[in-house]
């Protein structure tokens, strides 16, 4: 049939037609505009609205930004300069406050000659978390990760150089006992003994030991009081410290919540739900007002540490939920395979379950960290100098800068935005990478 059909065709073109350029209205910028901005009456309306919004914003704020003054030492001077330059009634940003007080926004009242210490701590943070977060960082660096917290505390607060070493030694002691005894006594007994020895060491040995060593061979850094902390130094210390310390607690709580033991499960659920059910601000008030009631009479320690404890509890509850999500996302087969290999609970968790569950949870942990970092601004309500309200209020108390609102808001907001935006992009990239791995 098809043959007869073919024969009946009188003429078949056997060469290609030369390509024609697309019609003028359907190519290039015009076509792009038509497709993306003016494809219908609704879209056109939206575009016009968008342009109007941008126009209003730019017209309002552009002159203010363009008239910015950097070289002024008080808000009055700023206004004089702006009036001289741009005429009566002109408004402008007074960035002089940032130039004069940037160090307070970043470091609070930390002694200026010691700024290298927080900066070094911040840079070393990337070395410490690098092996966890980036695949291209050499794995060898992972030994630095457990050392970092002790080093960071010492660098920030200063004091005797023996303190971090001896406290680290306590953890090493506990871990060593665990490793040596676990083949003979089983992991539970070994863990109990190791923990007991470590606790006894911390309670009775470590204090005199540090004093003794310091008397024999004194070395260390100039100590800095907690009251000197402020600005982003405080925010980052609380955020990073809270997340780091809450990770172990969060893992324990998550495992507790998944546990078969009803009592352990109940305690974990109560803790997690209680902490997640109340605002962080009430927990901070517990830190500032109630902690003295809960501790033995006469105990008094500094407010940053107290806030850090409550922030850790707060973060731990959220981290526990994130990790629980990771545990739940693992296929059932992984648990069954671990059982089939004859691994006991802790070995199964350590070798099979947790490495996978934690890897899945990293994006969630990063976003918990972003939330934590933003929430650290609430410490202003217990009298600490956060970068958002505490420090600007302090600066505004100076007569020279009375009534300056927008410049500190923009400066601090921009730093928060840059840090958090970078972290959220990273966590999205990580999510994509993990997704590809799983399929």
């Amino acid at each position: 049939m098809s043959d007869t059909q073919a024969h009946s065709v009188a003429y078949v073109r056997d060469t290609m037609l030369p390509q024609q350029p697309a019609p003028a209205g359907q190519s290039g910028a015009v076509q792009w505009l038509r497709e993306n901005l003016f494809s219908g009456w609704l879209n056109t309306l939206l575009t016009l609205l968008g342009v109007a919004v941008i126009y209003t914003l730019v017209m309002h704020f552009l002159p203010w930004f363009l008239h910015g003054v950097w070289d002024a030492n008080s808000i009055k001077e700023c206004r004089t300069i702006i009036t001289d330059r741009y005429g009566e009634g002109a408004t402008g940003a007074c960035w002089g406050v940032i130039r004069e007080r940037w160090h307070q926004f970043i470091f609070g009242f930390y002694p200026p000659e010691l700024y290298w210490r927080p900066i070094l701590t911040f840079l070393l943070l990337f070395v410490a978390v690098g092996p966890l977060l980036f695949t291209w960082v050499p794995r060898v660096l992972a030994w630095f990760t457990p050392v970092y917290p002790f080093l960071a505390v010492w660098l920030l607060w200063g004091g005797s150089g023996w303190t971090p070493i001896m406290i680290f030694a306590g953890f090493v002691l506990g871990a060593a006992i665990l490793l040596v005894l676990s083949p003979r006594l089983g992991s539970i007994m070994a863990f109990s003994i190791g923990a007991l020895v470590a606790i006894l060491y911390f309670l009775f040995v470590v204090g005199p030991l540090i004093d003794g060593l310091q008397a024999i061979l004194p070395w260390g850094l100039e100590s800095v009081d907690s009251a000197k902390f402020g600005g982003f130094l405080l925010a980052i210390t609380l955020g990073v410290g809270g997340i780091m310390m809450s990770l172990p607690l969060g893992i324990v709580l998550a495992l507790g919540r998944q546990s078969d033991m009803p009592l352990v499960k109940a305690f974990s659920v109560v803790f997690i739900e209680f902490i997640r059910g109340v605002p962080l601000i009430t927990l901070l008030f517990v830190a500032s007002l109630l902690l003295n009631y809960f501790l033995p009479p006469g105990t008094n320690f500094d407010i940053i540490l107290r806030v850090m404890i409550l922030v850790t509890f707060f973060a731990a509850a959220y981290i526990a939920e994130v990790i629980r999500g990771g545990l739940a996302a693992l296929p059932r087969g992984q648990y069954e395979a671990a059982d089939a290999l004859g691994l006991d609970y802790w070995k199964a968790q350590r070798l099979i379950i947790l490495p996978q569950a934690l890897k899945i949870s990293i994006p969630g942990i990063v976003s918990t960290f972003i939330g934590m970092f933003k929430d650290t601004t609430l410490v202003v309500f217990v009298g600490l100098f956060d970068p958002l309200k505490g420090i600007p209020d302090f600066i505004r108390a100076d007569f020279n800068w009375k009534g300056i609102y927008w410049e500190p808001f923009i400066f601090v907001g921009a730093i928060f935005f840059i840090l958090n935006f970078a972290m959220s992009r990273y966590s999205m990239a990580l999510e994509r990478r993990l997704q590809r791995d799983n399929h």
């Binding site: 993306n36 605002p279 935005f417």
Partner: protein, 420 residues
């Protein structure tokens, strides 16, 4: 004579408590229980000792004492002769009120932004992305502070709305002739009834019978409408033809309320500038507006992301399959896309509501007296009962959170995919 050997005597050794999986979990639980209870006992003991040292006791009788402070934004009747307990109640209602209005506004803005972010319009999609990223990555405290600074610094004084006799113009003009932002309060219209049915006095607050009547009529018409729809479904199943319903539904839902409102003589009362202040409408304090704006704009950014994710989560195949079955676009949306998207959207949405409610405690930054400001602020400072006040405050927040998540669980169970 041989007899079967006795089973080996199963003596119980102490080591079995650790090495035998039958007993191990009991041992661990016993140890955990002892540790937790020991810790709790230690804390309670410390508290008792500390209270003794300070000469304080633990009781809530301060809630019955005279409060002696004023609350600017009381929704229920309150004056400073009333008790701390009443002040607590005022604070709690303020918390719930600002949270409720915040959730409503955040949902509306969030849904609009989330949908627009998926729009094909390049410019609008980019603008919405900028909105979401800027608001998500900066602490909510900043947005509340920006809102209050805008209202107190930039907004004109009520005086500026006064018409100048010579020029016949005012320095500032009201939004849509009914909303005026000033540096002390925001004047908005209020609802006024020409014919009042009186009010019902309850212990909590007097309730206007007009509002009550409107609400009752509305609920009744929704119920009747539901019955009618059930009936229509029955008719459709029996005969295959669905009776035309839309105009009946519209009539039953709208007509009774409109008629009643008309009978009661409902009309908006616009704020008018009289002397130095606005009278007529309602003057809402700036602290409330700032808190509400900050919370809603911040939470809306998160809700926008949730809505966007929910819509993207429904694969295109679902729409195509619905079209292939011959469903029209609106039926596809209501029967296929929305039920699936809502299953994805609702749980994180509710946890955002929860966050907003908890964040309302930031009212402390602008001086709006809600639960944290009354019970956890002035009452605490006046009576010096930190332990009782903070415990009570945490328990109340916990109760609010748990009831919201309880609602979420009920919903989750209802929409859960029924696996067979």
């Amino acid at each position: 004579m041989t007899s079967a050997p006795d089973a080996p005597e199963q003596g119980f050794r102490l080591s079995q408590l650790i090495y035998d999986t039958r007993y191990r979990s009991l041992t661990i639980q016993a140890i955990v229980f002892i540790l937790v209870m020991g810790g709790a006992a230690w804390l309670v003991d410390n508290v008792i000792q500390n209270l003794n040292d300070l000469g304080k006791d633990f009781n809530f009788s301060f809630l019955g004492q005279r409060a002696g402070y004023d609350i600017g934004n009381a929704i229920i009747p309150y004056n400073n002769d009333m008790s701390h307990g009443r002040a607590l109640l005022v604070g709690l209602i303020n918390t719930l009120w600002v949270s409720f209005l915040g959730c409503v506004a955040a949902t509306i803005i969030g849904v609009v932004v989330g949908v627009l972010r998926l729009s094909k319009n390049w410019l609008v999609a980019r603008l919405m992305t900028v909105y979401v990223e800027v608001f998500r990555n900066i602490p909510v405290l900043l947005w509340i502070l920006v809102a209050i600074a805008l209202l107190t610094d930039v907004a004109p004084s009520p005086n500026a709305y006064k018409v100048n006799q010579q020029t016949g113009e005012a320095q500032a003009s009201m939004l849509l002739d009914s909303v005026a932002f000033t540096n002390r309060y925001t004047a908005i219209p209020s609802v006024h009834f020409d014919r009042s049915l009186g009010s019902l006095d309850t212990a909590l607050a007097p309730i206007s019978l007009n509002f009550l009547a409107l609400v009752i009529v509305l609920i009744a018409s929704i119920w009747v409408n539901k019955r009618m729809l059930t009936h229509a479904a029955k008719v459709q199943e029996a005969t295959g033809v669905r009776p035309t319903m839309w105009w009946k539904s519209a009539l039953i839902l709208v007509a009774p309320v409109v008629i009643l409102a008309f009978a009661l003589g409902i009309n908006p009362e616009e704020p008018q500038i009289k002397g130095f202040n606005f009278t007529g409408g309602t003057n809402v304090s700036n602290s409330f507006v700032a808190l509400w704006l900050g919370l809603s704009l911040y939470t809306a950014a998160f809700i926008a992301e949730i809505v966007r994710a929910g819509i993207l989560a429904i694969s295109k195949g679902q729409t195509e399959a619905a079209f292939a079955l011959g469903l029209r676009a609106n039926r596809t949306m209501s029967l296929v896309i929305l039920p699936q998207a809502l299953r994805v959207i609702i749980p994180p949405l509710i946890s955002q509501y929860l966050n907003l409610t908890k964040n309302s405690s930031l009212a402390i930054a602008v001086g709006y007296l809600e639960l944290r400001g009354t019970l956890g602020g002035i009452t605490l400072n006046q009576t010096g009962r930190e332990l009782e006040a903070i415990t009570l405050m945490m328990l109340i927040y916990l109760a609010i959170s748990l009831s919201i998540s309880g609602v979420m669980n009920v919903y989750n169970n209802r929409v859960k995919l029924k696996e067979r």
